[in-house]
Symmetry: C2
Subunit: 323 residues, 2 copies
């Protein structure tokens, strides 16, 4: 499982950072896109991601810097002869936005769009490899966090339970491990499914949209391995800008993540005023990072465009070194 950032700027693109887009890469090349700011398809050209292998697009909220790349990406997938249906998950209004653009610009797609309202996710199982749930956030328009939980975690035999049942290690264990059914010498019939446990915890990633109340994520981040959250500015800039835009500063997110016990935090969606490389007297991404580290002792990354992070089966997040 990997995260690859396609855009890490808020509001407008800069020369080095595009507006919001994040790929959640699954095993086997398939992937899910969270948000699709203008130019997301351009960033994808510089990755190994394929529009044919895209399973779903989850939109956190309908502000332009999170969704203006959607029509072009859908069109390019069509010109690339995609035929598989594509899931579009998002707030009410997503369908009207996409279908409105399609109707006014004569866009016809050779594949089906399946719209799923974010409020209707509970209990649905739209993807084979991922559970998707959503939690509401606080922003100028309805905004959501997506909680992605890995499905189909490999299973191991529950040896303790078998021992307790008086089944010693032997050929029967192998058959049960394969999910088979065995009949013991005493006539008892055992089914593998009853003696299999997940070999490990399913990996959980929470990706939040724009939000000025991180504490709303308390339930959503329970047992999560990673939280990706906006930190549009530092506290000092937030104080200057005021609360109108309804964004978080680094301190707010870091304090929340620490209190909630989130082990790994990735900050993104930085105001374009912050320079990538610090210069005297000018705001820099390092300022946001320093503020966050002052309140959070877990593993912390500041996202950059095209940066990749692998979340291994043990749940550890680490940057992928790219050529």
């Amino acid at each position: 499982m990997e995260l690859q950032f396609l855009g890490t700027s808020s509001g407008t693109p800069s020369k080095t950072r595009n507006v919001a887009g994040l790929a959640l890469r699954l095993d086997g090349g398939s992937w899910v896109l969270v948000d699709c700011g203008e130019g997301t398809q351009h960033r994808i050209l510089h990755t190994t991601l394929s529009l044919h292998a895209l399973q779903a697009i989850c939109i956190t909220h309908l502000h332009g810097d999170h969704c203006y790349g959607l029509p072009g990406l859908l069109a390019s997938a069509g010109m690339g002869n995609r035929v598989e249906p594509l899931l579009l998950v998002g707030p009410a209004g997503l369908r009207a936005y996409v279908q409105g653009v399609m109707a006014t610009t004569a866009l016809r797609l050779p594949y089906e769009l399946r719209f799923v309202d974010v409020t209707q996710l509970a209990g649905s199982a739209p993807l084979p490899a991922l559970e998707i749930a959503a939690a509401p956030l606080s922003h100028r328009v309805p905004s959501w966090a997506y909680r992605f939980t890995e499905r189909g975690v490999e299973r191991r035999l529950d040896g303790a339970r078998l021992a307790a049942a008086g089944v010693p290690p032997g050929p029967h264990w192998g058959q049960l491990q394969q999910g088979g059914t065995v009949t013991l010498a005493d006539g008892r019939v055992l089914h593998g499914a009853d003696y299999l446990l997940p070999a490990r915890r399913a990996r959980v990633v929470v990706v939040a949209g724009d939000n000025d109340r991180p504490e709303l994520l308390r339930d959503a981040v329970r047992d999560a391995h990673v939280l990706v959250h906006e930190a549009t500015y530092t506290q000092a800039v937030l104080d200057k800008v005021g609360s109108g835009p309804q964004h978080s500063c680094a301190r707010m997110v870091a304090q929340f993540a620490a209190a909630a016990g989130v082990p790994q935090l990735v900050l993104t969606h930085f105001s374009p005023r912050y320079l990538d490389v610090a210069r005297p007297g000018l705001p820099a991404i390092a300022d946001i990072e320093a503020e966050a580290r002052g309140h959070y002792g877990g593993t912390l990354f500041m996202a950059a465009d095209l940066a990749r992070y692998q979340l291994d089966r043990q749940g550890t997040l680490a940057p992928v070194v790219q050529a």
Copy 2:
């Protein structure tokens, strides 16, 4: 006057070419944008163009690769605190497209959008520095060419006419040159405006949208200094693709430009199948160029992203060498 290409690919972007966008730069920093494919605002970040100095956006047709960058560019101009009204010229449907996106994505702008239907341009004078006229083309959706004519060409005194009127060179000439009124010794009153001629021909640039019948431009290119036209592919590829997409090949445009006496031709909107640098056995931009040169003896350029061409007061087009 300058042309700067912001995108030169058709349909989808490539790693080196964005979808359609062309800046017509006027004296004093103001400029007009023709088409606005997704990522146009990203390209602008790599130029000296300012969204504050943008006078008008002319959309040739409502296909995504010519207009999906519009909402994001408008939003960024707003976030940059633009207050001047902005002219949006385009086919019927442009207003519905833009206003539909604005309504579904909560986009509010701090400046006014003034929509002008392309069919209503005749006789209107929307810009102080440019006349804008339009000519219909042939494509899958209504598509237009824009003819831009410089306004306010500097004027010179019509010495021959003054001599014929019996006014010898002298102080009166200077006053008339300034546009003043003079009274001659014999009592005649002369007005400068009656004796002033344009010092040179106004510069004329024609920028065409997607089009499979270049001959439709016969009137529009009369006395034009430059024609910018799509050449999506070569004849061989057009034959393979078929006429369905309704694009021109290089041969068609070149033959038309030669027959119409267009002195300077810039081709653009190349299918992404064409490589920038030729490699054995693969189609390259050089193939399109070679085909065009076989039918056209004028000044010919193959547009590239961010390439700039100066059109000087004598009407000569030449590349601007950039650092």
